[in-house]
Symmetry: C2
Subunit: 183 residues, 2 copies
Amino acid sequence: MQDTKERIIELADRLIRTRGFNAFSYKDISDPLEIRNAAIHYYFPSKTDLGIAVINQEIEKLAINKLYWATFPENEQLRLFFDVFYQRSKQGFICLMGSLSPDYETLPAAMQEKVQHMSEDVLEWVTLCLENGRKKQLFHFKGDAYDRALLVVSNMLSSLLLARVMGKEVFEKMSNQLLNDLL
Amino acid sequence: MQDTKERIIELADRLIRTRGFNAFSYKDISDPLEIRNAAIHYYFPSKTDLGIAVINQEIEKLAINKLYWATFPENEQLRLFFDVFYQRSKQGFICLMGSLSPDYETLPAAMQEKVQHMSEDVLEWVTLCLENGRKKQLFHFKGDAYDRALLVVSNMLSSLLLARVMGKEVFEKMSNQLLNDLL
DNA sequence: AAAATTACTTACTTGTAGGTAAGTAAGCAA
DNA sequence: TTGCTTACTTACCTACAAGTAAGTAATTTT
């Protein structure tokens, strides 16, 4: 079944978000899925390949969301973007950027490139959203839209990190404050 | 020499900030210091003990800084706080919170508590700084000082993460934008 | 019906991780 | 001077990590 491959990616995604790329092993995947570790190597010759597959899936998910979100006004778009993080915070997961950027120096070059690609993708979208929203007077903020996007993405990323350490209410406090500032 | 113990902590600190707690090994310490791994175990029976020593050192450093910073007006205090992160960004290091919170679920309970302690410490200080600064009209912002502190700390934390992935200029863009918002 | 491909498993290798028991040289203390 | 402590080293252990070679049952293609 092609099903196995998807279940491996799905679980690897979870493990990267909860434990980090360097802190999970093939056993963490093979045990719950009741397969041998060689089955993982069959689909993903190296752990790097598995990591790349997880990042690619995330990039694709974002691309799909972008298309869907484009039908809404920018203030709603941002709320929908925040909601993705909200769902994660409820599960106690962090985002891929939040998980992979601390390990950045230990990642193989191929994964580093993908992480870069992913972050540029997100930044580009938030920048455009803020920029266009400001033109329509849906957002109010000073300074460059890209710089503002950096702050917004940064806050989403670390809200998930802080929520795990300091309690889940932290996420809502941060996102409410952020939206109040922009709207 | 007591020197060895301090050099182990110093290097462990660097390794946690660059590679992450789960991604460095005793060899990464024993090789450069030209000692055997048992020498590390002599000072720190387990890796957990070493991790705790690194966090304790950071908590102490913050306590010392707090005392020194207290002699300045709040807007200067915040700039000095930001400067700590700026120095790190130049070295390509991230902060302890940024390194340890993604790995939080994999950390031994004793380290989790220390990480919590450390983050509460930082949050408390930034909250008071913002609160007092606003009273003196040195800062201008809406909403609860604690919620604002969450955003500020969050931005400092992830500016270091993003700077490594997207380039060092990211740190300055973010901190300038942040200061412009508050002052 | 034969050959090839798919989706794995069995059984293994090599490397490295954290950790430990026992020893030792140097210094200090009684 | 004997004994205790400090600051390590040598030599080792067990566990587990990623990865691989070879086999196999089931399906698909020719």
